[in-house]
Amino acid sequence: MVRDVAFGQYFPGKSLMHRLDPRAKLVCFVAFVVLIFFTFNYAALGLIAAFTVFMIAVSGVSPKFYFKSLKVILFVVLFTSVLNLFYGSGEAIWQWWILRLTWNGIHRAAFVTVRIICLILASSCLTFTTSPTELTDAMERLMKPLAVIHFPVHEIAMMMSLALRFVPTLLEETDKIMQAQKARGADLESGGFLKRVKALIPILIPLFVSAFRRAYDIATAMECRCYRGGSGRTRMKILHMSARDIMSMITTAALIGGVIVCNIFMTSVI
């Protein structure tokens, strides 16, 4: 059950999205995420949503997996949108106790829902089509100038790639521990919220213990393979910016332009 989580996984492939230079992808992704929060009217929001669908289409990964990654955050989406529904300012169209429904609130809820969904889909698209190594490699290269001010660029990139590598392994382990505790009579599925949270303790403790043991093993294995930090390291894969990477950045720039135009010429609804 836990293993169904698709978020953060990588699906090897040969689609346009897969072949893009990870640096170009990362730059476009960061720009896109910022852009998501600069949409103030439905035209801009529509542009963002359409672009998200476009990205999914050229990623060559089955939409099934995108739905799966959405499923995980369904609760977060519902929670924030309901919260926003009653958080708006202006004239109330319906009121009960402290709950005030306003048009502003409805708009806010719609925006926050679409924004979160786009955010998750875009980041899924990035991780589905970019191997963690490529991703951290890109991050390391893009942040390289920061090394001048003694920012530990390589160490952070290494930690991230290891964390991503062990996501499926630790999920599998969680599943095993859950089954083992169930076999010993642990009740994980009934009771109120508090009781269920408490029932997680016998799962989290063994998981943490084993994660620390793993960390120790990995450190040993890395040292055995002559790992001694970032200096003097080379990479097998050399990154090349090609025409399609330039194209992807131009497309993103065009999208930014589109959203700015929408924001200038149309009135904000939130």
Binding site: T169, I218, A221, R225, Y227, R233, M236
Partner: protein, 280 residues
Amino acid sequence: MFISIENVSFSYDSVEDGQPVKNAVDGVSLTVEQGEFVAVIGHNGCGKSTLAKHLNAMLLPDSGKVYVDGDDTADENKTWEIREKVGLVLQNPDNQLVASIVEEDVAFGPENLGVEPGEIRERVDKALKAVGMYEYRLHAPYKLSGGQKQRIAIAGILAIQPQCIVLDEPTAMLDPSGREEVMSTLIRLNKEMGITVVLITHYMDEAVSADRVVVMDSGRVLTQGTPGEVFSQVELLKKHRLDVPQAAELAFRLKGCGVDIDRIPLDEAECAEMLMEVLQ
């Protein structure tokens, strides 16, 4: 000789409750020749894994010396040179793979050594072909079987191009078919590529494939010799609660019943041959 262990002792904590604790490795002397296939067998906690970590300077002896290709492992300037010559493969394949793609994982070692990108590619392809996992180079490691993962881990060490590979119970977490895959890979590496192999194991059947078997118990070397020499000492091994290969066990019991057997068989084929001789 390639590796020389001279009277090495080591303990994890030197003092516990004011009392000196028992040494994990206690005065072991051993040599490994270039191109040899050595199996080290013994119980859990007999010190064999601790000994393995001494061979590539992961642990340094409390007393005694370890020399790899003439260099002392205690010499800090030589640490990385030694790890380049002696690769260590650990027990749990999951905890040795650092990248999410097979070929990127195999490239990790040479990348650490600062090898040129083009040469890394060559080494990775060669290492993956040597363990028979080339077709899986773009797969995600967590989707492979245990035996396949362990072969990837071996390829990761091979890409460093060591002269010697030390394996610390590489088959302990594998199913029988995975064990078979790993063993045949090791035998091939030793015979065809001339790589020195030190295999730490508690499966007696695996030790039979080695040129030389070293038996350890309570941090000391109990006995060593060719598999034939070691496994014919059935009584000694039994006294230390160690198994012998089934074929040797059968021969030993037949001998006990008064059957005349001059050579102890080590595997099924030899055993069948022996039984034929006895019956005729």
